[in-house]
């Protein structure tokens, strides 16, 4: 790790405000990104603990570690937590922190809306997570199939928490997506054309469109469920002629794009890491962009491959099978382009690079088993077995989580001014890598041997025992790995080696400013002339003989310089958004408003109305003072 020896610079600007209130009232995209990161990591640990309990229960046949009811709550909350409270917000942490830095902006387009998104996420996350402490957590699976989740079959309050919680979290995701779309379209620095944007920003851009188009269908599905449960409508009432597949269609029209919402940010992160540690530009940049867009586009046309087993008929099965196979093409393009990026490069095997390479390998395994499912006859054998569990953990853990860890190790120095410890990082990587494969690889076998998903226990003598035991050991390894990571993550904030502005020799704008970045990001908004501005700056002839990488060769009026000094925004005369807790207050109002519905279950109509109207008043009042006060 030659780069660690970079000259030590001041670690953190002394002027940044501190204290709890400064975090509640912050409108700085970097601080909001940091809040997302910490919160999502805590939910990641909660989701991981739920998984540990699940695996402990399944370690041996006929275990009585948890009851069937608790088990249902655990797998439901494990899925819900990991998808909505861990991986999506971990991606959001990077959207927040990196997008403005990568495109040369001083903040997102709507800083206060950004704070609102975070607070809705936090409060919604607490709302949906707390019930598990009282054994009333949602228990209908993360997919919440209706009519299973209607009052007829799930009469307790469990599903109420799930329906209301997800509805609230949807508001957070949608608000954030409008914000980032606007930011990327409208706040790019001069010269930062779309085809010069860093790949992480590009993939994030695609994801925001998936969010705004995929969340409305699940919002509608949840509204129907909510109305069925609380107001007696008949959307999922089979006895009244309702279609038992309505929920499945609406859910998966959201659910499959959601898969790409979870993976594309990780693809973006490794697309930053691989070129940096290969000292080569990303291979086939344009094709990487197009394939990302293609994945997003096709992602809306494959939802029914989650439903082959329901008997849609040969025509529908064939179409969705074909579309699903097609999506392997742009994904495969990405895999090969990453490999070609490393090919003949000066590869440095740092921790982020190891995680990035692990993503390529592990995601490929998950992708291949995915192509197997795309064939309906094969899928009919595999659906609802542990084979499917193995598949989606290879893409979500082996893909998303590996990519996010690559991103955390890569960008931690930018966020804190200090490196994560390399030795502990290596321990984390190897434990994580071995633990992941030990956990999920055996599930391919237990699945093909017929072990169904979502069962809380099983009998011995079906050939599943060894595979389950191995998976449980693997999970314990992952617990140790995560503990090492948390120790490293917390400790390095104060004890890590000082990194400086550009510790890895990277190429994009976020590395041209000090670490951690000053509140205003760029003292002077740079003018961009190529995809790799910092490499141009350090060695103008670095890409001679290669393709142009978007280089126009003519520096603009304010060419890029590396900024090493930190001032205050005030001293530089840069207007910054004012700190305000109004968005947090409005977010609280929103969650209180929705939670009023809970009281309808016990016919506490007056209480429900009081809470809902009180929450609505808080929300409207909060919005009013927010919208009528100046931004900066």
């Amino acid at each position: 790790m030659a780069t660690i020896a970079a000259p030590a610079r001041a670690a953190a600007p002394a002027s940044s405000p501190s204290g709890l209130w400064s975090w509640i009232a912050t409108t700085d995209h970097k601080r909001i990104g940091t809040l997302y990161l910490w919160t999502a990591l805590i939910f990641f640990i909660i989701g991981g603990l739920e998984a540990t309990l699940i695996r402990t229960q399944l370690a041996r046949p006929n275990m009585g570690f948890v009851s069937a009811e608790t088990y249902n709550q655990l797998f439901t909350m494990h899925g819900t937590t990991m998808v909505f409270l861990a991986v999506m917000p971990l991606s959001a942490a990077f959207f927040n922190y990196l997008i403005p830095l990568q495109i040369g902006a001083r903040d997102v387009a709507f800083p206060r809306l950004n704070a609102f998104s975070y607070w809705v996420y936090l409060l919604g996350g607490i709302f949906i997570t707390l019930p598990i402490l009282f054994q009333v957590a949602p228990d209908g699976g993360w997919f919440g199939y209706a009519p299973l989740t209607t009052t007829q079959f799930s009469s307790g309050p469990n599903i109420d928490f799930w329906v209301i919680g997800l509805q609230v979290l949807g508001v957070s995701s949608l608000a954030a997506a409008f914000n980032f779309i606007t930011t990327i379209i409208n706040l790019r620095a001069p010269g930062m054309t779309l085809m010069r944007m860093p790949m992480f920003t590009w993939m994030s851009f695609v994801v925001q469109f998936l969010l705004i188009l995929a969340f409305p269908p699940i919002t509608v599905a949840l509204v129907f469920l909510l109305m069925d449960r609380f107001f007696g409508t008949t959307f999922y009432a089979i006895a009244q002629g309702a279609d038992p597949l309505l929920w499945q269609h609406l859910f998966w029209v959201f659910g499959h794009p959601e898969v790409y919402i979870l993976i594309l940010p990780a693809f973006g992160l490794v697309s930053e890491v691989l070129p940096t540690f290969s000292k080569k530009p990303l291979f086939g940049y344009n094709v990487m962009v197009y394939s990302g867009i293609m994945i997003g586009f096709l992602g809306f046309g494959v939802w029914a491959h989650h439903m082959f087993a329901v008997g849609m008929g040969a025509v529908a099965d064939s179409i969705f099978s074909l579309m699903t196979m097609l999506i392997a093409i742009p994904t495969g393009v990405k895999i090969f382009n990453w490999i070609a990026t490393m090919w003949a490069g000066e590869v440095r095997f740092t921790v982020p690079m190891k995680f990035a390479i692990a993503l390529i390998a592990m995601f490929t395994i998950g992708g291949i088993s995915g192509v197997m499912h795309s064939s309906p006859p094969a899928d009919l054998q595999q659906t609802d077995t542990y084979f499917v569990v193995a598949h989606f953990h290879y893409v979500l853990f082996g893909g998303s989580i590996m990519g996010i860890f690559a991103g955390i190790y890569h960008y931690y120095p930018k966020m804190t001014g200090r490196f994560l410890d390399e030795r502990l990082g290596n321990v984390h990587f190897w434990l994580n890598f071995i633990g992941m494969n030990l956990t999920f690889f055996p599930m391919h076998f237990s699945g093909l041997l017929g072990m169904p998903r979502r069962i809380y226990t099983y009998d011995a003598g079906q050939g599943w025992d060894l595979f389950n035991l191995l998976a449980t050991y693997g999970t314990y390894l992952l617990v140790i790995a995560t503990a090492v990571f948390v120790w490293n993550f917390v400790r390095s904030r104060t004890r890590g080696a000082v990194s400086g502005g550009d510790p890895w020799g990277a190429a994009t704008l976020e590395w041209s400013i000090p670490s951690p970045p000053p509140e205003y990001n760029f003292a002077q908004i740079p003018t961009v002339t190529s995809r790799y501005p910092l490499w141009d700056l350090k060695d103008p002839s670095w890409h001679e003989g290669e393709s142009s990488h978007g280089d126009t060769g003519t520096p603009g009026p304010s060419p890029l310089t590396e900024e090493t000094e930190t001032h205050t925004a005030k001293a530089l005369g840069i207007p910054m958004p004012l700190a305000t807790a109004k968005p947090a207050f409005a977010a609280l109002g929103l969650v209180v408003m929705f939670s009023g519905l809970l009281f309808l279950r016990n016919d506490l109509f007056a209480v429900a109305m009081t809470v809902t109207l009180g929450g609505a008043a808080m929300l409207i009042g909060g919005l009013y003072v927010w919208l009528t006060s100046p931004l900066e």
Partner: protein
């Protein structure tokens, strides 16, 4: 819905700050928002169409229904009345266009020979008021329709038609309500400090939302009321 209004209102960096496209941030955000709303209504309308004709008991939208006790429920949709409310909503879009034009023309001197229509065209307060009033009238029609249906025996709980119909048109009505409140707050700002040409964007965004809600109604009216 809460976040929706914000995206249109949060005074972003646009007035004094550089933007890539030269457009205001809010203009881009409202288009992204409308894109998302299209999917919302597409999901609601699709569900209505999937459940069309699947109700096990009446009342039905276009056909008569006789229940087990021999009670007759006539076809419930009242197309003449809804045609009138549709016309009202369409006219509100016209008024919205005139309101935006009036704001854009603030500061442009009125020609000496301008008649009453020329003067009326310059009154943003008048047209904001007319737009909001027509929107509120549409809501009045909807309230009448809903209560009439309930009286005739169709509620949210009656059958699939009742559930899908009230939810879909109720969602649309909620959007109109938000729009009316939005227009009334613009009217209030206009009365207190006066909207000038610099406020064109604020009115433009409200207008985009209003026209969108109007267009959605045209789709709903065609698919649910007109096509049997």
């Amino acid at each position: 819905m809460a976040s929706h209004a914000i995206a249109g209102h949060d005074d972003g960096h646009a007035h004094t700050h550089y933007t890539t496209t030269g457009l205001d941030n809010r203009k881009i955000a409202i288009w992204a928002f409308i894109g998302s709303e299209c999917m919302l209504f597409a999901s609601l309308i699709s569900t209505y169409l999937i459940y069309k004709g699947k109700s096990l008991v009446g009342p039905y939208p276009h056909t008569e229904y006789t229940d087990a006790a021999g009670k007759v429920f006539p076809a419930i949709l009242d197309i003449p009345v809804t045609s009138a409310s549709t016309f009202v909503l369409l006219m509100s879009s016209l008024a919205m266009v005139l309101a935006l034009q009036a704001v854009q023309l603030k500061g442009v001197p009125l020609p000496a020979n301008a008649g009453w229509w020329g003067r009326a065209q310059r009154s943003s307060q008048l047209w904001l008021f007319v737009t909001a009033l027509l929107g509120a009238t549409f809501l009045g029609f909807q309230a009448y329709e809903f209560t009439a249906f309930v009286r005739e025996g169709l509620t949210l709980k009656t059958n699939l038609f009742g559930s899908t119909f009230f939810t879909l048109t109720g969602f649309h009505g909620a959007h109109v309500t938000v729009g009316v409140l939005w227009l009334m707050s613009l009217l209030w700002i206009d009365r207190t400090r006066g909207l000038g040409p610099q406020d064109e964007l604020v009115v433009d965004i409200a207008a985009l939302y209003w026209h969108f809600v109007d267009v959605v109604w045209i789709v709903i009216f065609t698919l649910i009321y007109l096509i049997k």
